[in-house]
Structure formats: structure tokens, C-alpha cells
């Protein structure tokens, strides 16, 4: 006895192609929605100022006021400034630094200029933290230790 075997139709139908195209388009739309806001971080870095553990101000780096910004908390006063970096390892980057502080340790002044997302200046006596925040990582590390 012999059985006739007829192979399945393997050629894609128009409907299959349409489904594949729709899936591809949806994948692109979802990817753009998910990853899109994380691109272009360098353009939207913000200076986030916290006092006593509470965020009190968030200033886009490009809108940072000229001259000094005076921060006072816990009985101490810090002068925060914006400038371009001139060290070879981060030349030309816009950054902030504490110009002066009347705190006893001066760690905040010693920290120097920060210009990359994730970096912070901490003044322990004043309990002031100046942190750089961006819309995405864009190659920036998750944590800085040192």
C-alpha cells in the first residue's frame, strides 16, 4: 500500500509578508520609544543641588547662571561656579566646581570640577550635594568610586 505525501506550501503568502512588516515596524517604534530618550545625554546634563538629603534645585548646565551661585545650608556657605575644563583628560567640557566654602574640611573645594553625568561634589558639614544628572547613561558609568 502506498501513501501519497503532499508537502506543505512553504512560499510566503502576501498576508505573511504583511504580518512580518507590521512586526518589524512595531519593533522599531517600541525601540525608539524605549531607547530614544536615553540618547543625546551630553546636551541635557543638569546640575542637581540637594541640601540635607532633599533636592532643592535642578538647573540645566547650559542655563546655569553666570558668576557664582551661593548655596547656604547647615550654617555653611558654598560658592558654586561654572566653567570649561582645561585638563587634557576632559578638555573643553563644561563643568561646575566649588570656588570657596567656609566649611572646616574643604573637601568640597578639593574635589575640583565635575563635568560628567554621575559625578558629585559633597560637602559633609553643610550637607550639600551637587550632582550631575542626564537623561540617559550614554556610555557614562553607573557609579563613581574614589
Amino acid at each position: 500500500m502506498t501513501t501519497k505525501y503532499s508537502p506543505p506550501e512553504l512560499r510566503p503568502k502576501k498576508l505573511d509578508i504583511l504580518v512580518a512588516v507590521v512586526v518589524l515596524v512595531l519593533a522599531v517604534v517600541v525601540a525608539v520609544g524605549f531607547y530614544g530618550p536615553k540618547l543625546g545625554q551630553g546636551e541635557d546634563t543638569s546640575v542637581v543641588i540637594s541640601m540635607g538629603g532633599e533636592v532643592v534645585e535642578r538647573i540645566p548646565m547650559t542655563s546655569f547662571p553666570d558668576g557664582k551661585k551661593v548655596l547656604t545650608h547647615n550654617g555653611y556657605t558654598l560658592e558654586l561656579c561654572l566653567s570649561y575644563n582645561d585638563l587634557p583628560s576632559s578638555e573643553g567640557q563644561l563643568g561646575v566646581y566649588v570656588l570657596s566654602s567656609d566649611c572646616p574640611t574643604q573637601d568640597c573645594v578639593h574635589t575640583g570640577r565635575i563635568s560628567r553625568v554621575g559625578q558629585s561634589i559633597v560637602c559633609l558639614p553643610a550637607q550639600i550635594v551637587i550632582h550631575l544628572e542626564g537623561a540617559s547613561n550614554d556610555g557614562a558609568p553607573d557609579i563613581v568610586v574614589g
Binding site: 504580518v19 512595531l26 524605549f34 538629603g53 585638563l87 558609568p141 557609579i143 574614589g146
Partner: protein, 340 residues
């Protein structure tokens, strides 16, 4: 057509909705700024409990809180210790022995004399330093079933190890709670748990000691401790222009004259060991030792990884980090892998 599309769309919706929520907490404690992140179920509660751990440890181990075990011990020469204080003091004595005294908690009288982190640091007369040096050494601590006594005139400071211990306890909590990811950054002491929010290992940058905007290198790590010590942020400048950084050499009683700018120690999480505390103590000890002795110490032990930044522009790292290590091209450093 619709029968095929609807399940696909539902799958896509599920994918976009499954990203775990990250919670964060920033606190000032243990004389430092702490930043904690937790990702996964129960993240918020875990952070609250982490803050409780930090506060509890600070109440027990601070040198300046009068009711702490350490303050009591320093003031009266003896004290009944809380469980964690006893555990950490025993560990500190073991680490002092392991590092041949380059890390030693009995350095407290000299820390107080120099007062580098205080309001009015001054360079003390050499005779005052010499008078206190005999008080340094873990043989002056006597620990017995949770009770501690100190030899006359001695004092301890757990500041060089307590933050590492706190990261040990928090790492333990993150594991017990089975968090998907998170990190703990306790002023130079970092623990990274699981994966970051992108689903990869955490990218931990080691600060460029000579450029506050730059990084020395980047490490990709999961379930690991990274502790960095260096003298480039905490220091004071004497009237004659001499810079005195804050890490004291237990043998000279003066700020360590190290040929290193920073030392980072990397150890994996181990539920049965206090690797956070060990990394904390080792980073201080190896900074005091300097490059040659630090490399010899690593070669003899090979039980940890490290990144040394030298004053002459080199970065030396151990072979165990090769797969996790990314140099920073613009740092200006010459990168070298250490061989045993």
C-alpha cells in the same frame, strides 16, 4: 490577520511593562554621604532597612557618639560590645595582623592629634607624635566573649573599616531579599548587586585622582565590592604650603608618604566572609605600603583584585580584572597588568 497580530501586540506590551522599578535613598551618616539604589520587589522596604542598618552601626561604632561602644571603650578602657561591634573589632584585629600593622584601628590617638578632618588641623610637634606611637598596635586590644579592654592610654577608631562592614551587612540584606539589582555607595565604599537597569553588569568608574572630571578606568562588575582609598580629596595645606593627606602611617605616625595616588580593592560578595570590611582595610593598608610592598602583598595572597594609580602616571591592575576592565584613553595613564 488579527488573530496573529493581537498576541504579538500583547507580547510587546508585556515587554514594555516588565522593567523593574528602581528605588533610591541618599543619607548622611558615618561621616560620609551615602547613596543606595535597589531594584526589584520590596526595593523600598529594603532601602529603609538598609538605612536602619547604617544608623544602628553608627550608634554602636562612632567615635564621637558618647553612648557608642567605641566611645565607651575609649573613655573607660573597657566595654561590653554589641554583637556587630565585637565581630568587626575581631575582624579588624585579624586584618591588622594580615597587613602587618599597615591597617590598625589603634591609630585613633594619632588621628585625634593630627585632626586632619577637623576644624583646625595643625602639624603636631614630632615629640607628641613619638609619645603616641607606642600606643599603636592591635596587641593593645583584648577581646573576650564580647567584652573588650584597652591598654592604658590606647583608643580605637573603626572609621577605616566600619563603612565596609556596613556594605557587608547591606549586601547580605540585598541577597536575602533576592533583589534583581542595586548598589550601595558609602563614601569610597561601593557594593554592586546583580545587574543594572539595562540588564548588564554595573559599570563602576574609578575616579581620576588628578582630574575630578575624569576617570582612571571603568570596571564591569556584579555582586562585588570596590573600595578606593587615596589622599587626593581629604587633606590640609600647612602655612608653609606642605600638603598633608589624611591617611596616617601607623609606623611613623604621620600622613603616609605613599608613591600611590589611589588604591582600589575589588572582592566578590561571599555570604560567609566580610569582604566589604576586608576591601576597606586593604585599600588603606596598601596605600600605606606603597607600590612595591602592595604588589608583593598581592602576589603573596592573590585572594583579591586591585587597581593601583601611581604618582608617576601608571595604572597597575591584577589579571583577575582583565575581562572586567576598560581603560580610559584620555586619562593619560599607562596601563599595566600585574603578574605574579
Amino acid at each position: 490577520m488579527m488573530k496573529k497580530l493581537i498576541p504579538l501586540l500583547l507580547c510587546l506590551l508585556l515587554l514594555t511593562g516588565c522593567a523593574p522599578k528602581a528605588e533610591s535613598l541618599d543619607i548622611f551618616a558615618m561621616d560620609t554621604y551615602m547613596s543606595l539604589v535597589a531594584v526589584g520587589d520590596g526595593a523600598f522596604d529594603t532601602l529603609q532597612q538598609s538605612a536602619n542598618i547604617v544608623n544602628t552601626l553608627e550608634q554602636a561604632m562612632s567615635r564621637t557618639i558618647e553612648t557608642s561602644d567605641v566611645a565607651q571603650l575609649n573613655a573607660t578602657g573597657s566595654a561590653e560590645l554589641r554583637y556587630d561591634t565585637a565581630v568587626l573589632l575581631e575582624e579588624a584585629m585579624a586584618l591588622s595582623a594580615a597587613t602587618l600593622g599597615c591597617f590598625d584601628v589603634t591609630i585613633a590617638p594619632l588621628v585625634e592629634l593630627w585632626n586632619i578632618n577637623g576644624e583646625n588641623p595643625v602639624v603636631p610637634p614630632q615629640e607628641e607624635i613619638d609619645a603616641l606611637l607606642p600606643l599603636v598596635g592591635s596587641e593593645h586590644i583584648h577581646l573576650d566573649n564580647g567584652s573588650a579592654t584597652l591598654d592604658a592610654g590606647c583608643a580605637i577608631d573603626l572609621g577605616g573599616i566600619a563603612k565596609g562592614f556596613a556594605s557587608d551587612r547591606i549586601a547580605q540584606l540585598y541577597h536575602e531579599r533576592a533583589l534583581e539589582g542595586g548598589f550601595v555607595s558609602l563614601g569610597g565604599n561601593v557594593y554592586v548587586h546583580g545587574e543594572n537597569t539595562e540588564g548588564t553588569a554595573w559599570h563602576v568608574a574609578i575616579q581620576h585622582p588628578e582630574d575630578s572630571s575624569g576617570y582612571a578606568c571603568i570596571l564591569s562588575l556584579s555582586d562585588a565590592f570596590v573600595v578606593t582609598s587615596g589622599g587626593y580629596q581629604r587633606y590640609f595645606t600647612a602655612p608653609d604650603g606642605t600638603v598633608y593627606q589624611h591617611i596616617l602611617d601607623p609606623f611613623t605616625g604621620a600622613p603616609a608618604a605613599s608613591d600611590l595616588l589611589s588604591v582600589s580593592i575589588i572582592l566578590p560578595y561571599d555570604a560567609d566572609k566580610l569582604h566589604g570590611a576586608m576591601a576597606d582595610a586593604y585599600s588603606t593598608a596598601l596605600y600605606v605600603m606603597g607600590e612595591t610592598a602592595a604588589c608583593d602583598f598581592w602576589a603573596a595572597q592573590q585572594s583579591f583584585d586591585m587597581v593601583l594609580v601611581t604618582k608617576d602616571g601608571r595604572i597597575i591592575y591584577t589579571p583577575g580584572l582583565i575581562e572586567h576592565f576598560t581603560p580610559v584613553e584620555e586619562s593619560g595613564y599607562d596601563y599595566q597588568v600585574l603578574t605574579a
